[in-house]
Amino acid sequence: MRKLWIVAQREFQERVRSRWFVVSTVLVPAFLGLVIFIPVYFTSTTAASPEMARITIIDVSGSGIGERVAARLDSGVTGTMAPRYEDVAPAALAAAESTATREVIAGTRKGYLVLGPLLWPKPDVRYSGSNATSSIEMSKLQRIVHDELIATRLRSAGMDPDQVQSLTALDLQMSTERLTARGRGGSGEIGSIVAFIVAFVLYLTIFIYGQIVMRGVMEEKQTRVAETVVSSVRPDTLLFGKILGVGGVAAAQLGISALATLLLIQNRAAVMTRLHVQASNYALPHVAPGMGALLIVYFILGYIIYSSLFAAIGSMVSSEQDAQQVQMPVMLLLVITALFIQPVSFAPESRLAEVLSYIPFSSPIIMPLRLSLIPIPLWKLAASLGALVAGCWMAVWIAARIYRTGLLMYGKRPSPRELVRWVRASR
């Protein structure tokens, strides 16, 4: 037990100290962050620009509404770029417009807003500018004008200006929630996206860390350091220590990445405001503690079943080429499972999805995906977990037996018949 810990500790420490770990741990959340923020930023970036206030407001309505619109634009998101307000007589409109057009073409102004006669019910308001295609900027501008028009109407209907201001002050942020036959909770769309991401992250992590375990075993065998180490620890202990240590690295990395991503999402409003983007208003799906624990259990078992098989492969080969060939079957199991992620996420209740939930090689990825999409009866969950635990036990047992023989055996890789003999032989 003490030796197991020492082996695991070495694996963990050496890997966490490596540059690879630091880089990939930073990169994953950074990448996720980019994925989340970049599209939002690009679809709305011009809207957020303080530039949008740098316009000319040509008010021919004679109501003074232009001044109030200018005041609204001047505060809010716009910062220091103040709009220029011109109260113009209807006769002078053409001249004012052509001046404003020249300014826009010269680039000194973003555009100009013409507030025409305030006709009932359809006032004459138009905007020309270089940013006219930015829907978010335009809707923002339109909302300001809209609010001020209503205030103006209320005022002209005899309401007290202060009262108008307090009554029209309204900050509406409509929250949305998806309601389906499966029940309510979180935003359904986000829920399925999150489920998809969870399945994919599970697949990637098992894939990457399985490979790391295999490379580690190959390194120990090829450098012959295994010869020295097995004189102090049993091969079984060495194998389990390695799986445990590398698993610890995986957990640390996933933990850090998940935490960083979560923090990023929770504080996305602040980040987006910094980027002058309006914060989108989706709710994170609520993950119940029980569900979280199940995810972790499936991840651990999935990692164990695949990494022990990869370790066995690493122990039976003596060259990179052999490793490429021998790992194909295990690789295929994993890749084929990944191919099912999408079909299952579309039809989590299908027969296919159900079957894949009981096969130990696919259930660690498919079952968490289904669990986050639909409610699964307890007995089905138990059956899936039971099959997976049994599969793990088998895989570890076989892997340990291959490993202890293969580790000190050099040269030609074993034929399937020899492998069977290794598994059946005593130590």
Partner: protein
């Protein structure tokens, strides 16, 4: 006194051959013990069974009087494998600390010993502290030194060296020999396997020769030579063997084997032959005898005789030159 290692009727069979058959050995404490045999004789398999890496199919092994499978027993053993290697990306100190901790040495104590050894084997000098370098930055010779330290750092009672002198440069071979002698002086037991009879003859108190998985002979060096039963004569004649002496050397009641090395002729006396009678016969035949010396067979000779008796096709003979 309890034997350092006591091997009792062990056998190990692999899928297509028997690696070790019914081998029993008593390796006394405080001795330098040579496990001799041609390649493929079962030396490494035997060592792996002593270290509890492999389990014998039958038989038992005790180390310092305790079954080797019991927890902590193999921690009393240090091992330098024939195929040597270290974690290439770890620093020297961390590798050594890992190996020491695996043998149960507390970290602080291990660091102290590692520093002492690094200094002694000149891996820490005024110019450079190689202890903080990665293993892959070290020269081959330095890596070998690190490997010695790894095998010794937990101060084992029994040291097992598998073909220790193969692939060692002369300086490190000397350093290792010094360490072996030092361990013996400190009352430790050193077991090494080799097929190089010269190093065995120089170092060993006792030896065991095994071939094809079975013991051929064991005992102290003197016992093994004596047990070989052959009396040898080193003979030098003025004028060679032509002056009518060849019929005497061909007399199978006197001489069973002649190995003419030009300057010296080595003769094996027939089992009951009297060396005096041979000398007399030579003088009577008119030979001018320059040297007539009764000698003990060399370990090399014992080894070649014993092993080739098993496999007459000379396979073993070839192995001794490898």
């Amino acid at each position: 006194m309890t034997a350092a290692v006591s091997i009792d009727h062990i056998s190990k069979r692999f899928a297509n051959h028997v690696a070790v058959r019914d081998l029993s050995l008593q390796i006394p404490t405080g001795m330098v013990y040579g496990l001799l045999g041609p390649n493929g004789a079962g030396k490494t398999t035997t060592i792996r069974m002593i270290l509890d890496v492999l389990e014998p199919d039958t038989g038992t092994i005790q180390i310092m009087g305790l079954p080797n499978g019991r927890a902590g027993v193999v921690d009393r053993v240090g091992y330098l494998p024939e195929e040597r290697g270290l974690y290439r990306r770890m620093t020297v100190r961390r590798v050594l600390l890992f190996l020491a901790q695996l043998k149960g040495v507390p970290a602080a104590e291990a660091m102290r010993r590692i520093d002492a050894w690094l200094e002694r084997l000149q891996l820490v000098t005024s110019e450079r502290d190689w202890g903080d370098a990665r293993v892959e930055e070290l020269s081959r010779g330095m890596q070998q030194k690190v490997q010695f330290i790894g095998a010794l750092v937990h101060d084992p009672d029994v040291m097992i060296l598998d073909e220790p002198f193969s692939a060692l440069d002369p300086i490190n071979a000397q350093a290792l020999k010094d360490i072996i002698i030092e361990l013996k002086r400190a009352g430790k037991t050193v077991i090494f396997s080799t097929h190089l009879m010269e190093s065995a003859e120089r170092l060993c108190d006792a030896v065991c020769i095994i071939a094809q998985g079975a013991k051929l002979v064991d005992g102290t060096l003197a016992e093994v030579r004596r047990a070989h039963g052959v009396q040898q004569v080193a003979l030098a004649l003025d004028g060679g063997t032509h002056n009518g002496v060849s019929h005497i050397l061909q007399d199978r009641t006197l001489v069973t084997r002649v190995d003419d090395s030009n300057q010296v002729i080595e003769l094996d006396l027939a089992p009951s032959a009297d060396p005096q009678r041979l000398l007399r016969a030579l003088i009577e035949a008119g030979a001018v005898v320059q040297r007539f010396e009764l000698v003990q067979p060399s370990l090399h000779r014992v080894f070649v005789d014993r092993v080739s008796a098993l496999s007459p096709n000379g396979e073993a003979k070839e192995a001794t030159h490898a």
